[in-house]
Amino acid sequence: MRYLPKSPAERQEMLAAIGAKSIDELFSSIPERFRLREALKIPGPYSEAEIIQYFKDRAAENSNGYTSFLGAGVYNHLRSVVTDTIILRGEFLTSYTPYQAEISQGTLQAIFEFQTLMSQLTGQEVANASMYDGSTAMTEAVLMAERLTGRQRVLVARSVHPEYRDVLKTYAKNSGLLVEEIPFAANGTVDQQKLKGALKDDVAAVVVQSPNFFGVIEPYAPLAESAHASGAMFVVAITEAVSLGLLRPPSEADIVAMEGQSFGLAPSYGGPFAGVIASRDKFVRQMPGRLAGQTTDSQGRRGFVLTLATREQHIRREKATSNICTNQALCALAATVHLTLLGKEGLREMAEQNLSKAHFAISELLKVPGVRRTFDAPFFNEFTIELPRSVKIVNSQLSREKIIGPFALGTPYPELTKHALVCVTETTPRAEIERFAGALKRALEQPV
């Protein structure tokens, strides 16, 4: 077998050196009755070509040739081939967690650069080396706020991504956290009156997302003020990281939880992505996950090490800030390379293209009879429209024209069954936007 570097003769030599007659002897500590007599019933062995063929066959059964208008937490953006060139290097791909700093300086410096980029982007003072994804980053941010305030209630905007709220609920059930949802107002932003009404001095965190699940941009200042006035922490979740190229960051936030997928990570049917947690220096000892710090060696040379490890599970065990061990290091590296390639101007330009494409798209779609804009509020690259009939039916009609239509909001928001979330990025050609508008028009002209 090509992954096993031993010849039959070498195996014999080694057994002889051990003093064992057969390999079975080395398994004698497993009680006889539990040792398998038959081979496992799994497919294979496949040669390299057969493996590739298997996955090509699966790829052919997916969405080839369709143009998608889906966002909703996972975004199609341009990715440079340079990113893969770097992360496919064996020294990055096949290296271990940098616990032994002297032979991991490549990984550690890259993490330090990632932490810096994330702090700069989010307007915070410090960021960690990554979390699993945006949903768990948001959850851990809430748990961090709970530890810091000693309070048990959490107010989450209903306009936060439905799956992020689901993950939070799963974790909250077992930590005694009480999660309450704050509705959205007529213009799609957080209902500030309802928020003020719910805020008492027992709230650990107020959590909002911006742009929110409907694509609407939330006003940070008044929301932060309300939260802080009652001693709660202000937590902001961001699912579309490219928005920070053009939108001012949530510097009022105490903790920012972000999904980094938009930075050079393929959609890949939902993962692996790169969660980000960023906050103030004064809270750093309550931050979960790994942190790379700058230091010097015995000769005064600059180097980097994992630091503040006493927060983590391998030292603190049951008192750790989190149980996280393996995170998303290679994905964070991909994001670092991607952002370094884009640079200051490139990220801004990408964000501007997103803004322009989405605003062009909404004006084209609103020309289609029967289509209305749901929320009258500023948006970045996602917006919500109302259709005169079920979104699911319209989407199946669009599918026949090889278009994957917008996200149907009816399942997570039953009061919005005829509403859909449209996402347009810099990757969507103008011709496809116009074709989408045309197909939508045709779909709505069909008898019900």
Partner: protein
């Protein structure tokens, strides 16, 4: 390093210096030596209540965290603010400048049950023999 004769000591390596119903508490030279270079100290705020035998804070090195246990019950009057910026004082002067907290004791008499300097030195010598055995 010598163990001050007027202090009392606990099995968890804390010392307490009593004056009337006021006391100063710290960790011993033995404790700082076991811990290694101290990087961070977490102490209670003034007004907090401490209970004899219960943890009231932590001392951290790079690779370990140690709980600090109260030698006696009382109310915290002051925490040593200097240790936030210079935790290394715990390594260099654990019995003096690196005191951790000052308290008002609820039961000053109970302190006499703790080991004196001689008993504590004998205790750590005995422990030393056990670990190398």
């Amino acid at each position: 390093m010598a163990y001050p004769k007027n202090y009392r000591y606990t099995k968890e390596h804390e010392w307490i210096d009593v004056k009337g119903d006021l006391a100063t508490i710290g960790i011993t030279d033995h404790a700082q030596h076991e811990l290694g270079d101290v990087v961070f100290v977490e102490l209670p705020k003034p007004g907090a209540k401490i209970e004899a035998g219960k943890s009231f804070g932590t001392v951290e090195s790079v690779k370990a965290v140690s709980e600090i246990y109260a030698p006696a019950a009382g109310e915290v009057l002051e925490a040593n603010g200097e240790l936030h910026n210079t935790p290394e004082k715990i390594n260099s002067d654990p019995h003096g400048a690196a005191w951790l907290i000052k308290v008002r004791l609820s039961n000053p008499a109970a302190v006499s049950n703790l080991m004196d300097a001689a008993a504590y030195e004998a205790y750590i010598a005995e422990k030393g023999k056990e670990t190398s055995a």
